[in-house]
Amino acid sequence: MEFFLQQLFNAVSLGGTYALLALGLAIVFSIMGLINFAHGELMTITGYTLYFCGLAGLPFLMAAPVGIAVAIGAALIMERAAFRPVRNASPATLLVTSFAVAIILQTLFQNLISTRPRPVVLPDFLSGTVEIGGFLIGNNQLLSIIVAVGMMVFLNWFLKNTPVGIAMRGAAEDFSVARLMGVRADAVIAGAFALSGLLAGVAGILWVSQRASVDPFMGFTPVVKAFIASILGGLGSLTGAVAGGLLLGVVEIFLTAYLPESLIEFKEPIGLAFLVCVLLVRPNGLLPARNLHAEKV
């Protein structure tokens, strides 16, 4: 029982990070129909910002907001430089553009920084543990969960209470009518990218705080996982992204924990087979977007 609870904790911690990434993908997708595979590189950029801040002697707690701010800035530049010129192109063009951005950034990281992982100095309190109800929990995992929940609460507040948030939800449903109300396409799309940058930056910090290093391909695996999570939850649906991320975390952690040793190398295919079964029952995902017609502007 204790082992189970411990694993559940691990699952929620990992799933929460997947959920943050999947939310970032979902926000951009719901506004402009783009699945941004360069989303993971925003995480990597945050990771390298932490690394350079460490070299400069900046403490982690001060480096973290810098890392998030850099991710937001990078997301805005990405939109401006790469995605705005192809905004009205087909979804396939958008998708290929996002892969190109991802690969260009990975190559830049390799050539300008290093192909090898770089260490990120983490504060001592992250490696400590706390005892809750008789079992030990890593501080970094507890932090992941608290931060993920906090971000979701913030996102929910932002989308329901700010004019830009409401405009983004309206634009996700019917972009032409949102424009009739005076909503500028550039403003909502930039807003969506800024939010996705924020989420990727936070996820990047959580990711690095579990691993203490950053490498050029750090963002690739998590963004693929986040993509799976958003398909699982229902593409473009924000609650779906959270549900999909958590489910994916649970599946991964529990397969690692409970599969017999002879099968452990098959944990990824077994996990994906399970997810395919979920999609066979619910082809639109767990909680599909209510009105998804990602319209072009």
Partner: protein, 243 residues
Amino acid sequence: MTGPMANPILQVQGLTVAYGPVTAVRGVDIAVHAGEVVALLGANGAGKSSTLNGIVGLAPVTGGTIRFRDEDVTGLPTERLIRRRLTLCPEGRRVFTALTVEENLRLGGYIKGRGRAFDEAVADMYDLFPILAERRRQLAGTLSGGQQQMLAIARALMSGPELLCLDEPSLGLAPQIVEQVFELITTLRGRGVTILLVEQNVALSLDVVDRAYLLASGEVAGKGTAEELKASQLVEAAYLGLH
């Protein structure tokens, strides 16, 4: 000149709207004066909605000029026209179904920000449409068709337009709701809102408007005051394609 003979608030000259090789509107001239309610009538496919969409920048304008309040607004993007107080309540209502009634109104008043002007506009809309006040926390997608139409009009009014383009407000509504919509148009005219109305329902339209243009095959086939048109054969001809 002063009064109703001053420059029209909206002056459309030679408007041509084309979707690729298909020309939907050909050289249409329309003038609307402040305080007037003017209808564009015509059969399905006559180019009425394309004319409105061209005016507000949602359909591709390939020729002609649009002047609004003595300024050339031809080719201005949709989102800038509302800041000049010209807006459209689109065909098929198109309320944001995943937003609450109040959020729809907030988005309608997007250009006003969150100040007092905005709060007053919301209160005013709830006065005009008590049913929306009752349903303010409900998702717009759960409203009936008639309520959604009221919401769509209220949402368009939130920005305080000088000219409201109304595209087929009675489409797909039950007869008694259709009457309410036309009563509302009379109410709005009493409040001094200038309206350019596109309608299928000719008889009811001619009861509430000052003047009307008849469109057929994308061209103006006739025009006149409501009384003139009621008395003439032009309307039937336009609908039967006899122009």
